[in-house]
Symmetry: C2
Subunit: 159 residues, 2 copies
DNA sequence: GGACGGCTACTCGGATATCGCTTGTCCGAGTAAATGCGG
DNA sequence: CCGCATTTACTCGGACAAGCGATATCCGAGTAGCCGTCC
């Protein structure tokens, strides 16, 4: 899995803390916060914006902000926005190639049992990610350190 | 996810049908059956052998065979053997870099909530794969087409 | 005819190139604020 | 002093290279069967 997912998730969580501010947050600021390559982070934030997770405002005081309420953004939304909608395991139906196809009796008519099980497993993974929202993460983080939101807002407010 | 996983799974399922035969199956034969690159398939079968899933016998009548009973080989075993033991999502703790670390209050002391959720989701995925064995796949495949085993054995027996 | 030694063919095993995708960077389009000028 | 046109600085957005892992291939080590020869 690409690192962009991690970057996107962290930045989304930051934007949860900064959601109360009505000013969008520029990419450069988020990159500085996490010590990341600004342009590359921008690329991923664009993907989130295309997916409708973030709203982008160009111009001098522009930046990104959450497009929906945190409890309406699941981890699966972020992952699929960055990684793409394709499943991790895609069965190319090699069984349909070569003599193995004929043995199975048909040109890929039957659903591949391997693909079936792999998709089932991946579905549970997706379901787990879909059941967790940014709000859940924020709540859990605040249980660990109650002043995270205030500290984060303060840092982003500075110069 | 790499294609090698699919190749490995299909070949393992073939080896289930051919488990009754006491002669190992060469890589070239499996490659021909699925119309795959023989040398590259061999590479993945080597990985399965290193993991103790397949047993390899060199020499003229050599080849691969299942090292354990099919109900003792889970899909997770095959996947980890090919893909490696590392989790798909590895949190590099970017929060420990840059000012964000100080805001969180500590040099990575606190466990990252993002990493926590991602690992939980991946754990469900692994659990699902660990709960499915080659024997389960074989049974399911035979429910679809009862004569798969016989057909496969016949093809591999031919010249 | 039987047994033994060497030979050959075939297989795994790892070292070696090639390719595609993720990573990383750059510059242009566009917008809001700041600024200077005129009334 | 107030309003407006212009300039400017800053931001997103997509187009453009570089690095690394998966893909694909080849050759060497080793073994089992086969063949010829000798007893």
């Amino acid at each position: 899995m690409s690192h962009g997912v991690e970057w996107a998730l962290h930045c989304c969580l930051d934007l949860v803390w900064l959601a109360e501010e009505d000013r969008p947050v520029p990419t450069a600021r988020l990159a500085e916060f996490h010590d990341l390559a600004p342009a590359y982070l921008n690329k991923h934030l664009q993907a989130l914006a295309r997916a409708g997770i973030l709203g982008s405002t160009p111009g001098k005081r522009g930046g990104f902000r959450l497009a929906r309420r945190p409890d309406k953004i699941s981890l699966l939304d972020v992952v699929t926005a960055v990684e793409g909608p394709d499943p991790a395991f895609r069965c190319l139906n090699i069984r349909n190639q070569g003599p193995g196809d004929a043995v199975m009796g048909g040109s890929g008519r039957r659903a591949c049992v391997i693909s079936h099980s792999m998709r089932r497993a991946e579905l549970t993974w997706r379901r787990e990610l879909a059941g967790t929202t940014l709000a859940d993460l924020a709540e859990e983080a605040q249980q660990h350190a109650a002043d995270v939101a205030a500290r984060t807002r303060r840092w982003f407010a500075d110069a």
